[in-house]
Assembly symmetry: C2
Homo-oligomer: 377 residues x 2
Amino acid sequence: MTIEPNKLPCSYFTEKIPLLLENGTSIVELTVAYESYGKLNKNKSNAIIVCHALSGDQFLASKNPITNKDGWWNRMVGCGKPVDTDKYFIICANVLGGCTGSTGPTSLDPKTNKEYGLDFPMITVSDMVNAQLRLINHLGIKKLLSVIGGSMGGMQVLEWAASYPEKLFSAIPIATSSRHTAQNIAFHELGRQAIMADPEWNGGDYIKLGTRPSKGLSIARMTAHVTYLSEASLTKKFGRRLQDKDEISFGFDADFQIESYLRHQGLTFVDRFDANSYLYITRAMDYFDLEKTHNKSLTEIFEKTKTKFLLASFTGDWLYPPSESLIIVRALSAGGVDVSFVNIESDKGHDAFLLDEPEFDNAMRGFLESVSKETNL
Amino acid sequence: MTIEPNKLPCSYFTEKIPLLLENGTSIVELTVAYESYGKLNKNKSNAIIVCHALSGDQFLASKNPITNKDGWWNRMVGCGKPVDTDKYFIICANVLGGCTGSTGPTSLDPKTNKEYGLDFPMITVSDMVNAQLRLINHLGIKKLLSVIGGSMGGMQVLEWAASYPEKLFSAIPIATSSRHTAQNIAFHELGRQAIMADPEWNGGDYIKLGTRPSKGLSIARMTAHVTYLSEASLTKKFGRRLQDKDEISFGFDADFQIESYLRHQGLTFVDRFDANSYLYITRAMDYFDLEKTHNKSLTEIFEKTKTKFLLASFTGDWLYPPSESLIIVRALSAGGVDVSFVNIESDKGHDAFLLDEPEFDNAMRGFLESVSKETNL
C-alpha cells in the first residue's frame, strides 16, 4: 500500500483530549480525516453525515487520490443528485480504526512513536460514532439534518440514533442489521483467518518488519466480495463464461471470468487497504449488537425518539437481507417512531445500495426533501 | 495427515489398463478403494452405488479408520435403514482424485515412483464415473439397481445416468445441480486460493518437501463449511452466543461459538484430507456442466431414458438450491422420463441431506422399494 495517512488530500481534525472507548481504554490523540461537500448554511442546519462501509473511505463524491477513481457514492451524492450538494453540507469521515487518515492501526502510537499495529485498542461501532461526534462538535454543528449509511455505515446510523437522538433530525440506515448474525460473523472470521495465516502478517507487526500480508488480505477481500453479490447477479454478470479462452484449460489458472474477477478484486484491494484495519473493522462489526450495547430491546432503545427514519433494503441482499431491516422497522413502529421503509426489488445483492437503483434514489431524494421542509431548511 | 492410502482397511481394485481421461491423458494404473455393505445376490441385481461428496470417502456406513467416527451416511445406510443393507449390496468408492486410497495426487506416479502432486492429471466428474464403471465391471455387475449421491455425489449420479443409462435401473441425485454456477465456482476459488497462498503448499510439492499447507486447507474447509449451512441453522445453532466466556474479549480470539466451531472444522479436516486432492476435486466440480460435456440440452441428454429418477432438494439449501433440482426435473419430464421429486422443507442448509430429515428418509425408502418391486428383486 502506498497510502501515507495524514498526507492524503482531505481535511483533518485532531484533538488531544482522550477519547474513551467502549473497551475501557482511550485513544490519547484522535485524528479524524474527512471530506465535505456543499456549504454549511448560516445556522448550520443543513449538515448530513454519510458513514462509510467496511472497505469505504472519506472520498464519498470526489476523486479518490489512492485509486484515482470516482468517489464511492458519486452516483448518490453531488450537485442535483438525491443527496444534493447544492442544498446540503455533507461530511464523510474515515472511521476510527480505518487506514485513510483517521486514527487506526497504521497511525503512530504516541506512547512509542511507532505504528500501533495490534497495540491499537479494539474499537466498536459506538467508538466510531463518538469520533464523528467530536468532529461535528468541532465544526459547531448542534444538530444534523440526517445521518446516512449502508452496511456498516447503517450500523453507525443506528448507533447515532440510539445514543444521540437529540443530535439528529433524521436517520437513514440502508441494507443493514441491528446485530451481526452468526453467518455474518462466520464470513468475517474467514477473512481474518486468511490474513492471520499469511506469514507476512507477522503477528500484526508487518509494518515494522517491512512485510505485507497481501495474499491473506486479498483472500479476505475475495471472500467478502462474494457475499456482496447475489447468485443471480453473479450468474448474469459471469455465468460459466470463460476468461480469454474458448475451452477450459484443465488446470488451476483462472479459466472462468468469475475467478479472474475475484482475483482482480483481491489484488486491487491490497493497494488501498491495511490488513490490520481490516481485522479491527470486521471485529467492530461482529461485536455490533445494538440491544446488547444499550441493554434494552430495540423498541425500548428508540421509543418515542423524534428522529425520523427511512430504512432501505434490497430483495437480493443475502448478507443483510430485508428481514433484518424489517426487525428494525417493526421495533421503531412499535415504539411510535416516524419510520418509512422501502424494500427495493433488485437482484444485485448487498452492493445494490452502491449501484444504479432509481427507486432507491427517489426514496432518498423524497425523504431528504421532506425532512428539509419540516426543518424549514 | 496420517493417512497412508492403500493401507486403510477397505477393499481395493487395481487395474493396469490405462483409463482415458476427459482431458485426453490417461491414468496408467488405476486403483479404486471401496467399501461394500450387504450381500450381492445370485443374479447380481441388488447392487447400489453411493457416490460421495467433495470431502467424503468410502466409509459410508462403517467406522472411519482415520477419524474413528461413524460412517458419513450411517443414518441412511444400514440394516433396516432406508438404504437397507439387508436387501441391497451397497458399494461406496473413494473418487478418482481422492485421498483415501483411490488413485489421486497422493498416489505414486508410476513414471517417477514419487507422489504425483500437481503432476496428477486434471480429472472430471465423468472420469470419476468411469473409474466406478471399471469397478462394477470387475465385480461382474451388469446393471445397478440404483446410483445415489448428494452434492458432488449427485453430479456423479447425473453423469452415470447421462453416459450409461443402460447400466442403471434408477438414479437418485440429491441436493445437486447440472452445472456449477458462478457463485459455486467463486466459493471453490476462495478455498483454492487459500491453499495455494500457504507457503507450505510449495507449489504443490509439499509431500516431497515434507511440508503441509494446513492453514490454507483449514481456511478452505471453513469457507466451504459456511456454505453448507443456512443462515437459519447457524442462528439456531450458534446465534451470537459466546464461547466459554460471559463477555466479549475485545480481541481476535474466538469469542463467538461460530468462530470456535469453524476453527475446529478447519483443524480436524486437515487431519483427514489432502490439500492437492481438495484442489483437484473442487476443480472437477467447477468444470461440471452436463450440457456442455454432452453437447446437448438436458432434455436431449435424458430423452426417453428408461432410468427412473428420484430427485431431492432442501428448501434451506442455498448452495445447490431447489431451483437447480427443478431445472433437472423439468428437463426429465419434458423428455418423457419417469421422475419423482421431493423438495423437503428444512432450514438445515445444504448439509440437510446428511442430517435427520424423516420425510427425506421416507422418500428414499419408498422409491427404492418401488424400484425393487419393478425389478422383481
